[in-house]
């Protein structure tokens, strides 16, 4: 919520800390994508549901990568709000509000890509502000990795035409539940 310019993320001082951030980011991403897949299933948008499920699986692989990198290290234990992300939310976790029940694959990929771009920005900020060489190296690796994700998603998105205006039109009125 806070403005990243006025309120930048704090400097990260160790690779353990950076790995904790990275793990939180990927964990949150898996949960979000699974949540979004559930939402789409509930609203019978199965194509996008499958896509979100796939994204969750991919992010799950990233968790494994981070866990491997963390082998033998003692990562700090932080509560959700103790992570000082740019805007308070994990870069790949804060896109829930952009979901729509009629969204199309193009939108879903766009949503994921925005998250990856925020992740790039976050790790770049870490690289720019750290004074620890190991952190710098790892942060740059993570930037590179996230940029790869962005590029992949861009390719993926090109397979779907950008939906025309009016894609969110619903021919039925909302239902009354209670």
């Amino acid at each position: 919520m806070s403005d990243s310019i006025n309120n930048p993320a704090r400097t990260i001082g160790s690779t353990e800390e950076l790995l904790a951030y990275s793990l939180a980011l990927e964990t949150e991403a898996v949960e979000r994508f699974n949540d979004l897949a559930d939402q789409m299933e509930t609203h019978h948008n199965y194509e996008v549901a499958d896509l979100f499920r796939k994204l969750a699986k991919i992010e799950g692989l990233h968790i494994e990568n981070v866990n491997q990198a963390a082998t033998g290290k003692q990562l700090p234990s932080l509560l959700a709000w103790e992570f000082e992300w740019d805007d308070g939310e994990s870069p790949e976790g804060g896109a829930m509000q952009d979901a729509h029940y009629l969204m199309q694959p193009w939108h879903a990929i766009e949503l994921a890509m925005q998250g990856e771009k925020r992740a790039v920005a976050f790790f770049r900020h870490v690289a720019e502000t750290t004074s620890d060489d190991k952190v710098l190296k790892m942060a740059l690796e993570l930037v590179e990795e996230e940029e790869e994700h962005v590029a992949l998603l861009q390719q993926w998105q090109e397979r779907f035409p950008k939906p025309d205006d009016g894609w969110d039109e619903d021919l039925d009125p909302p239902a009354m539940l209670e």
Partner: protein, 279 residues
Amino acid sequence: MTAPSACALIQPKEYKSGVKPVWCPGCGDFGVLGSITKALSGLQIRPENAAIISGIGCSSRMPTYLSTYGFHGVHGRALALATGLKVARPDLTVIATGGDGDGFSIGGNHFMHTCRRNPDMTYIVMDNQVYGMTKGQASPTTEPNWEKGKLTPGGTGINPFQPLVIALASGANFIARCSSADSNGTARVIMEAIRHPGFSLVQILSPCVTFRPEQREWKNMLIPAPVVATSDPAQAARRLLTDEGLFTGILYVGNRPAYQPTLEASIDDVAKLDEEFQL
């Protein structure tokens, strides 16, 4: 969260029941669900020792989606039901959840009197200024010139309810405002609210993407309160009346003792009650 002992800790997702929400994708309530799980995890409250109580409305579906004990009751009475539970079972962590219609319109009387009574519980109100489950009518917190409510064409023309001001005047012991878009920040506030003795009100501005799509902009409008929480009701009142509902954070932290009658028996045998009737 990845310390070696981490496996023993209860993770946020373990507080989810697995029942899939019926909320519209994009709804702010998803964020609040996440915040509640994070707060419970932060406090490491075992799911069986917490109870989430609600009334009727979109946000009142919350208990079903959590792995704690829960009660999804009738419209407007969540606070009364929660009060009974807390008084009878002070060992439980009791959280009431609901929306602005449930809490401030049909449940308005209980809202005031639960603030007065000050039981040790937390009330999370997901405020979207509209009735979602009945197709988008104006709620008590709707601005007077909102013209899209079909029962109030041309706007309600009446003053919006100010929950935080009413709560303060009625005696709530902890008052905060949050944005559902800030899931982590909201989680922290909920954790503080649960921790604080007495009745804690957490108003969470939670957009209704179906009937109030313009509320998606809230995430750019809400700003953290530029001052720290006060324990002075007069100062809190001044702030709450002048912040146009846009300051987030913990705004008032009182020090009234919580309402909790003792439940210790003074006689060992119910039959002793007979004595007063014997001639």
